[in-house]
Amino acid sequence: MVEDLAIERHTIAVLVDNEAGVLARVIGLFSGRGYNIESLTVAETDSDEGISRITIVTSGTPMIIEQIKAQLDRLVPVHRVVDLTTEGASVERELALVKVAGKGNKRVEALRIADIFRARAIDSTNESFVFEISGSTEKLDAFVELMEPLGLVDVSRTGVVAIARGKAAL
């Protein structure tokens, strides 16, 4: 790179044809060109049209981020690439399922913290809870960190999904 600029974190939404190999194409693009993937989520969002939405959180210099968008945009099954970080305001959420095993005070403390974070217990045994929590990546990180000394045994996270504010569609 000619200019050494600061690394930025961007959330990019990509609408793609829901066809075999499309996710491999996107992931292969990132690994083949050495770009970062901090998180990636994908699911079909329009079954009539067969369109999936991929949300990618990535980081790089502004020039790299531009490259990533241009490279994504030229993939044949890609309909649209939108940088939610730069194109207007957007909201981001991530969901996690957090399993905590323990007895006595630790169990009570886990429940109390879950309450503060507005996490819901969606499974419970005498010795464990599974909490469901959603919010920003930072909030989930904080929750998981607090659960660590209280018997954290397993975490499953979705990665970030994001959508632009306001009435317009992507």
Partner: protein, 586 residues
């Protein structure tokens, strides 16, 4: 009303014919037997049987590059497909439109490690522009036509269609999708008005402008090359071309500074370094062009015209990106230039040309053909003199001879020069020449070659004989992998590890054994006769030219150096040692 049921193979042939395909380069095998059966039963589509699938892709590249059409390849599953991978990567790097049909095991066996099964779409995903695995009969006609559309549209490239055997044999309906609009892939082909106006104003205002143009101009077509010629002449600015761009602008014109880059001319590279405006047209600022990035064209503004937005601002940040097809954009620029009645700054341009003429006076390509050993530059220069007025196409292999060919052979038309630029594939030249000859049976086709590259795909000599393709292989034979040897001399203390080819075959006898004609020149005064004889023989010929084994290719910008740090000749080698950082670069 529903049409007649056809089997998958017949549908494929029909689609190929409707796409205007006349020739397929291929090699049969178990998984594609049904297509071969369908080929056997018709006579509109010609099949050229290669000797190894890698050769098929290079032939299709030569065919495509010399005609502007899509080249078509047909190979079987497993090893057939994996042998094609190098050619596909080559076509991707050089933006050559190819459709490659690969056989596949029947759909119910996919994933079972069946005989000759390979995950072809998985393997070729990073080395194709796009690929398809056809799993349903009803998708076949659409995919066939879509593949051609994708291969030739936007920035062209290779497309693979993986075809399970049950699809080739199953029954279905053919429908012509060749005119159907693609639902996602719609490259931008015209530029915005404001960019065009800015671009022409910047050119008119520049004091030291330089056009830097590449293969994208040739891909855009002969008309784009004519428009480039008009614009360059209107502005009076100098122009340099990349390796892939040679022929996009007349090589003998005085505004042409020669090729730029690692082995480009002194005047082209210094003009890049000193320019105050670089107009990049269909070129991609790759590392062979830029040299050390932080010292690249330090005082210039840059306009970048390209159909592929991902080529812009990739290596070098530019001031004005213009996305569009080069031909259209040049049209728009010519109109805007005339409409605004723009003129270049005549005084500044005169001063700029004075500087350039000073660089030209260095005569950076000079060599000394004294003595009794043939200089490779001399051989290629003589080849140029003997063929420049003929209807001639040139292909090359990869290495020193390729650079000398680019320096000494002047192309005045596009599509006459076929070389492996991006990937640098040794063994490209012979099969590519055969592909060119198949497309242009009455033209002279010469593969300027080195003996090491030639050995990599010499099995295709047999293909040339079978199809009466009288290609000429002009081998500058130094018994070394010359460019490897040169780098070992410059960077590795002259330790020539494994770059000498011991036990070379006698190339004249090899030619004879393969039903070719073999000629040889050992002395400078034999070169002209051998070239003339080679041209006159109406059969494939090897011209084995024994050249100076220790000749190096200059000028050279060593890896990690800037344009104004180039080595002009052997006398510079010692005074400008290559940096540590430069050594790790390729």
């Amino acid at each position: 009303m529903a049409g007649k049921d056809l089997n998958g193979s017949e549908i494929i042939i029909q689609a190929l014919l409707n796409e205007g395909v006349d020739t397929v380069f291929g090699y049969p095998g178990g998984a594609v037997l049904p297509i071969y059966d369908a080929i056997f039963q018709q006579n509109q589509l010609r099949h050229v049987l290669v000797r190894q699938e890698g050769g098929a892709v290079h032939m299709a590249e030569g065919y495509a590059r010399s005609t502007g059409k899509v080249g078509v390849v047909l190979v079987t599953s497993g090893p057939g497909a994996t042998n094609a991978v190098t050619g596909l990567t080559d076509a991707l790097m050089d933006s050559i439109p190819i459709v490659c049909l690969t056989g596949q095991v029947p759909t119910h066996l996919i994933g079972n490690d069946a005989f000759q099964e390979a995950d072809t779409t998985g393997i070729t995903r990073p080395c194709t522009k796009h690929n398809y695995l056809v799993k349903r009969m009803e998708d076949l006609p659409r995919v066939m036509h879509e593949a051609f559309y994708v291969a030739r549209s936007g920035r062209p490239g290779p497309v693979v269609i993986d075809l399970p055997k049950d699809i080739l044999m199953g029954l279905g309906q053919y429908e012509d999708f060749s005119k159907v609009e693609h639902r996602t892939y719609q490259p931008i082909i015209k530029a915005g008005k404001s960019e065009i106006e800015k671009a022409v104003s910047m050119i008119a205002a520049a004091k030291k402008p330089l056009f830097y143009c590449g293969g994208g101009v040739i891909n855009s077509g002969p008309r784009a090359c004519k428009q480039l010629d008009r614009l360059v002449k209107l502005t009076g600015a100098p122009i340099t071309l990349t390796l892939m761009g040679l022929g996009a602008y007349p090589g003998t014109d005085k505004q042409f500074l020669g090729m730029l880059g690692m082995h480009g001319t002194y005047e082209a590279n210094l003009a890049m370094h000193d320019a105050d405006l670089i107009v990049a047209v269909g070129a991609r600022f790759d590392d062979r062009i830029t040299g050390r990035l932080d010292a690249f064209a330090p005082n210039s503004k840059k306009i970048h015209i390209d159909i592929d937005p991902s080529s812009i601002n990739k290596n070098v940040a530019v001031d004005l990106p213009v996305v569009g097809d080069v031909g259209n954009v040049l049209d728009q620029m010519l109109r805007a230039w005339k409409a605004k009645k723009l003129k270049s700054n005549a005084k500044a341009m005169k001063a700029w040309w004075n500087i350039i003429e000073g660089w030209r006076a260095k005569d950076c390509l000079k060599y000394d053909q004294g003595g009794s050993v043939i200089k490779p530059q001399y051989a290629i220069e003589r080849l140029y003199e003997h063929t420049k007025d003929l209807d001639c196409y040139i292909t090359t292999e990869v290495g020193q001879h390729q650079m000398w060919a680019a320096q000494f052979y002047k192309f005045n038309e596009p599509n006459r020069w076929m070389t492996s630029g991006g990937l640098g594939t040794m063994g490209y030249g012979l099969p590519s020449a055969i592909g060119v000859q198949v497309a242009h049976p009455d033209s002279l086709v010469v593969d300027i070659s080195g003996e090491a590259s030639f050995l990599m795909n010499m099995q295709e000599m047999s293909t040339a004989v079978q199809y009466r393709a009288p290609v000429k292989v002009f081998i500058t034979n130094n018994q070394y992998m010359g460019m490897v040897r040169q780098w070992q001399e410059l960077l590795h203390g002259g330790r020539y590890a494994e770059s000498y080819t011991d036990a070379l075959p006698d190339l004249v006898k090899l030619a004879e054994a393969c039903q070719w004609v073999g000629l040889r020149a050992k002395k400078p005064d034999e070169v002209d006769d051998v070239i003339q004889e080679m041209i006159e023989i109406d059969r494939p010929v090897i011209a084995d030219i024994w050249v100076d084994q220790t000749e190096n290719c200059f000028p050279m910008i060593p890896s990690g150096a800037a344009h104004n740090e180039m080595l002009l000749g052997p006398e510079d080698e010692a005074s400008k040692p290559v940096s540590e950082e430069g050594m790790v670069l390729v």
